[in-house]
């Protein structure tokens, strides 16, 4: 007999529909899975066999062929166990489930028949809805996550043994409550008040948060660069519902949703030994990289000059376009990655800086080290903040302004930008045309023109100064960019050369 069931395989952060066809007929007892399964899918044979037997079902001693369609799509992961088991029960006549084709199933099976959570439950629930399924049956642990998708029934099951009761209607579990989306950082998260003194660094962070500008902090070790970067999410505006869902979808695909993940905007700080595919995503099937995990949040690259050059080069296109394009045999996948880049670097390899008599770096070493600060990636960085060792008086002084107050200013600045540019956009994303259309006071225009003429600014640097000045003006609630704001923007902009 033949039975089919619907399930999904995860590809990037989206779920691709897979049809499981199980045929049971006479012949030598055998159990084969065809249709480009990976090792984890092939091992489903052993898990399904044990789970059936341990739940009191009978494992048919006949020839069993499982086909995963479409055959051209590579299937990965253990999430197809439940669908294979259900289709097998139906094909062998142990379960009379005429509605099997109208539901989708996803879940991994333990040997005792209980279900285990899968990655990407939210994306699968959404894909099931797109595919016209009435409900999705999945492990109880994934229930709240899948319930974030509206317009589709969610049936959480704890074990394979519950299926007969579900089919006959004896047992009808209620739809689980959706996982609460946390738009704000949780109370007790790192607060900007910890950054004492350092008024300019605070101001630079505030401007960066208000306009979505990327920041580079340069200074000796222990000057508070990492501390400052870690506090950036706390002054960013809260996520909108749509953004929170995007973040949840990515976290779900990475299997990190609802596992003690800090709420609010993501903050990713990969180690500097990371490879290029690890940073931007890659592999077959493609897995999201750190930039995608930082979507709508902050990507912090500490020790920027220590990162591998190919990894930094790979960041360029995603920074510009807000998405990663990964080309594989089966086609091109696009992963979202609209994040804020925050980087930190030491002034030289030993970290002391040339002004320190103990610095023992040769000019060549320093040149090579700083070379990464002037490469193509650096061209995408808007703000340069020189950080210095805070004085004893500053460290022992009063705590700084708390994040909540700064965030209020940032939020209203973002509102002004959205009014001008459209929903969800910020100043850092302004096109050159939009940047040049910004209203300038005569003083600001003269200042920019003078610098442009004297320091031979590039066109890109010119527009960068305009974007920064616009953000500072938005923070202050000024309509046209004034001389004051332009002067600050010119101070803050990243320098091309010494």
């Amino acid at each position: 007999m033949l039975a089919t069931a619907r399930t999904f395989t995860l590809d990037g952060i989206s779920a691709r529909p897979v049809r499981v066809e199980v045929d049971v007929h006479r012949g030598l007892p055998n159990f084969t899975i065809v249709g480009l399964p990976d090792a984890a899918v092939r091992e489903a044979r052993e898990r399904v066999r044990a789970a059936l037997v341990n739940c009191g079902f009978e494992f048919p001693l006949r020839r069993i062929v499982v086909n995963l369609a479409p055959a051209s799509l590579r299937k990965a992961g253990p999430g197809m166990d439940l669908a294979i088991a259900a289709a097998l029960l139906s094909a062998s006549g142990q379960l009379e489930w005429e509605g099997l084709a109208r539901v989708a199933l996803a879940g991994e099976l333990a040997l005792d028949g209980s279900t285990r959570a899968v990655q990407g439950a939210l994306a699968m629930a959404e894909a099931a809805r797109e595919g016209g399924a009435e409900a999705i049956v999945l492990p109880a642990e994934n229930g709240p996550e899948a319930a974030l998708a509206e317009g589709i029934g969610v049936v959480p099951v704890e074990a394979l043994g519950q299926l007969p009761a579900l089919v006959t209607g004896e047992w009808d579990p209620p739809r689980p409550g959706p996982l609460p989306l946390q738009l704000d950082p949780p109370p007790g998260a790192p607060d900007l008040a910890d950054l004492r003194g350092q008024p300019h660094l605070r101001h630079a962070l505030e401007v960066a948060a208000a306009g979505g500008h990327s920041v580079l902090m340069v200074g000796p070790p222990g000057a508070g660069k990492s501390l400052a970067a870690g506090r950036l999410p706390s002054i960013l505006p809260p996520l909108s519902l749509g953004e929170a869902l995007e973040v949840a979808r990515i976290a779900s695909a990475c299997g990190s949703l609802g596992t003690g993940l800090p709420a609010g905007r993501p903050f990713r700080a990969p180690h500097h030994t990371i490879s290029a595919p690890g940073l931007v995503g890659g592999g077959a099937p493609p897995r999201p990289g750190e930039v995608t995990r930082a979507h709508r949040g902050v990507l912090f690259l500490d020790e920027l000059c220590e990162f591998r050059r190919d990894a930094l080069e790979a960041l360029r296109a995603p920074l510009e376009s807000g998405e990663v394009l990964i080309s594989r045999v089966g086609g091109q996948r696009s992963l979202p990655c609209r994040f804020m880049l925050v980087a930190a670097a030491n002034p030289c390899p030993c970290g002391r800086g040339e002004a320190d008599p103990d610095c023992c770096c040769s000019p060549y070493e320093v040149q090579r080290y700083q070379g990464k600060l002037s490469g193509a990636l650096a061209d995408r960085i808007d703000i340069l903040a020189a950080v210095r060792q805070p004085s004893a008086a500053e460290i022992g002084g009063a705590p700084g302004e708390p994040s909540a107050a700064v965030r209020e200013r940032v939020r209203s600045a973002r509102e002004r930008q959205e009014e001008r540019l459209g929903p969800g956009r910020c100043n850092a994303e302004m096109t050159p045309g939009e940047a040049r259309a910004c209203a300038l006071s005569s003083g600001a225009g003269a200042l920019l023109a003078e610098l442009y003429a004297r320091q031979r600014l590039s066109g890109r640097a010119h527009d960068r100064a305009l974007r920064l000045a616009r953000t500072i003006a938005d923070l202050e609630g000024v309509e046209a960019i004034g001389e004051e704001q332009m002067a600050q923007a010119l101070q803050m902009r990243r320098r091309d050369h010494g």
Binding site: S374, A386, V387, R388, G498
Partner: protein, 378 residues
């Protein structure tokens, strides 16, 4: 103008030096090649005998058979010219030295050498591994001296040398003296600076085109730098530094020495501070150099005393006190982060400060760069 011409004997000498490069390297490299200026006093025959005793006859034979046409052709191919100690173009200042080069191979504008008096030229030397303080001073000195009509001589090395050239090239005349052929950009990363100087300044060397640098050729070129200028200024140098070889050579020739004072705790300022203790001229700006070389009385027209807003004045004072980042200035002056950024930005535009690519600020020497820099009262 005197034509750049060189006699056959002198051209052959430069060829010989290049051919003896590896041999002299062996006998002259006790203390980083410091013996090379002494060796170069020797005649052709003695030099070959000392440096390459095993191949003396062979070397002298090859030297004798060199045709002048071939040497001139090589010069032409490398876009170089030559002038020798018997020609009119050869600078008089070099004639003082007993070990002066026989021929100078040049690339660039030969008019820079025409009638060059030694009080018209200043040599700026210093550490390759210089601090931003030293680099900034070297750039400003180079620029102001060039703007005041002096010829700035240096050696195209990393650090101080390159900064002095960079400062001078836009404002006036600069000469780079190399320890390799004038058509060889050494160090290679200074290729674009080398090309600029070839086009708008002058590169000279005692070695023929294509000659590679050896350790001993650097002290050798230092003696040319020391002899060419009326004053040698050390901007930054450690206590055992090649720059101090240049000052020793200059002192032997009776040239003036100048040194830029630095912090006594700084390793890179130990050299100049030591020279100052030994009686060198204190060089704080270009005017000190002009006073020492040309005598007092030649003064630049004093720039109008700037009238700055209080915020700007406070920020300028903070940078002068050594607060180099915007944060430090804000804390020192009590300004908010935004106000400090505004003040620093204005000061940079007015030319009082420069900002490095690491975001640290330095005070410039010149009160009004960008405008007319340095005019001398006649």
């Amino acid at each position: 103008m005197a034509e750049p011409v060189a006699c056959r004997e002198c051209l052959r000498r430069s060829w010989l030096l290049a051919a003896l490069g590896p041999y002299i390297e062996k006998v002259a490299t006790g203390e980083a090649g410091t013996r090379s200026p002494e060796l170069l006093r020797l005649s052709n025959e003695d030099l070959v005998e000392v440096a390459a005793p095993k191949v003396t006859a062979q070397m002298l034979g090859r030297l004798e058979s060199l045709s002048e046409e071939r040497l001139l052709e090589e010069l032409l191919l490398a876009e170089c010219w030559a002038c020798c100690r018997h020609s009119e173009l050869y600078p008089d200042s070099l004639r003082d030295a007993g070990d002066a080069p026989w021929a100078l191979i040049g690339r660039g504008d030969p008019r820079f050498l025409d009638g060059l008096e030694r009080f018209e030229a200043v040599t700026i030397v210093g550490a390759r591994r210089a601090t931003s303080y030293g680099r900034e001073i070297a750039r400003e000195l180079g620029r102001e001296l060039a703007a005041a009509g002096m010829v700035v001589v240096s050696g195209l090395a990393f650090g101080i040398d390159a900064c002095a050239h960079r400062g001078a090239i836009d404002a006036g005349r600069t000469i780079a003296v190399l320890g390799c052929g004038p058509d060889v950009a050494y160090p290679a990363s200074h290729r674009s600076l080398w090309r600029q100087i070839c086009e708008r300044g002058l590169v000279i060397s005692e070695f023929p085109p294509g000659a590679t640098p050896w350790r001993w050729t650097f002290p050798a070129r230092n003696r040319i730098m020391a002899a060419l200028a009326g004053m040698t200024v050390v901007v930054e140098a450690a206590i055992r530094s090649g720059s101090l070889i240049t000052t020793d050579l200059a002192a032997d020739l009776g040239r003036d020495l100048g040194a830029v004072p630095g912090p006594v705790t700084s390793r890179t300022s130990a050299g100049p501070n030591g020279l100052l203790a030994a009686g060198a001229h204190v060089i704080r700006d270009a005017q000190d150099v002009l006073d020492a070389l040309l005598g007092p009385g030649r003064r630049p027209i004093a720039p109008a005393v700037p009238n700055l807003e209080p915020d700007l004045e406070a920020a300028l004072a903070a940078v002068e006190a050594g607060h180099s980042t915007c944060d430090a200035v804000a804390t020192a002056t009590g300004l908010s982060g935004a106000a400090a950024a505004t003040a620093l930005s204005r000061l940079e535009l007015l030319g009082y400060l420069t900002c490095s690519n690491l975001g640290t600020y330095l005070r410039t020497l010149s009160p009004s760069p960008g405008g007319p820099l340095f005019r001398l009262e006649s």
